[in-house]
Symmetry: C2
């Protein structure tokens, strides 16, 4: 039996993306964004939605650049802090002790301690109600070498990303592998 | 030590969204989409990216409506099948035995057996390279009653959604809860 719960921002899973940008004075900033995801393949592109009052909004509008940093579960406190406090009021890198490194493809900082960092150049800006969606072309991905598998591909179990539960407002880990895509479903195609 | 792996569509986690639409002849179709996510709060909105050659593209352009259906892990075979075969060539509901139910808010079918169904009306269409991004205003969410917690909120452990690993092309389950958001990070704000 289904129950209608109305119009809400509930969909599973949501990501935990930490967005790196530079403020006007050159200070690095980081913000926690759950509204986003890959949005195109050719060119590879990722979308994030940000409200206009955010420091990150001003920074992206000025620099046309951002990074998406994927924290491992061990950084859950830092990731959450990046979503609680505004970059207009605090130096979040100083508060957490994390390290901002200037991207080599775009004018935005990535977070050294997080295992996967995506450098993005803005190629689209869309107004969606109170949010502005920035579409970033993925210019490069940097991965901690000990998070790569033998083929040089990021290993999700080593990266240990978090997922955000939009209903309960909790962070969860990624669980066990269930099946290989483009394979397990073939039996219905017979 | 970081290794640069170039421009790829790798970000963790990606969702497993099964998109429900009606074909021109009234037949329901379902497609597996990993490029998407919540993209706005006011109004609640969700984005999905689809290539133009897909049956789903034609259907959404004609109806201005779609559903996002969240399969539980037990439906991994069906979910994968929806991404392997085109609705132009097969009746995917007939093949899988799943049930299409007409939405009561929009002209699109939802999948009865999947625990969480989101009815969407198109409010934005964006071209992003080879993909078209449809922004859907969330008109209603329907949830299996046994997947709700005491407060009437969808319980992620009961919904048991999958995540898609964009690097290894595998489906994974959601793991353990790590922390409460807007809380665990407060210690850095002191």
């Amino acid at each position: 039996m289904k129950k209608s719960i109305g119009s809400k921002t509930i969909a599973f899973p949501a990501p935990v993306f930490i967005i790196g940008t530079y403020c006007e004075d050159g200070r690095p900033n980081a913000m926690n964004v759950a509204w986003g995801g890959i949005c195109g393949s050719c060119p590879p592109a990722i979308a994030i939605s940000v409200r206009k009052q955010r420091c990150t909004y001003d920074n992206i509008m000025r620099t046309n650049a951002f990074t998406v940093n994927i924290p491992s579960g061990e950084f859950v406190k830092e990731a959450d802090y990046f979503g609680i406090v505004s970059g207009k009021k605090a130096d979040k890198f100083q508060a957490t002790g994390l390290t901002a490194v200037k991207g080599d493809k775009v004018n935005a900082p990535f977070i050294k301690e997080f295992p996967l960092n995506i450098e993005c150049k803005v190629i689209g800006i869309h107004e969606i109600g109170e949010h502005t969606q920035f579409v970033g072309e993925i210019m490069d991905i940097k991965v901690d070498q000990d998070c790569l598998d033998e083929d040089g591909t990021p290993d999700i179990s080593k990266v240990d990303p978090m997922i955000y539960d939009t209903a309960a407002s909790t962070y969860n880990s990624v669980g066990k592998m269930l099946a290989k895509a483009f394979l397990i479903g073939k039996e219905f195609a017979k």
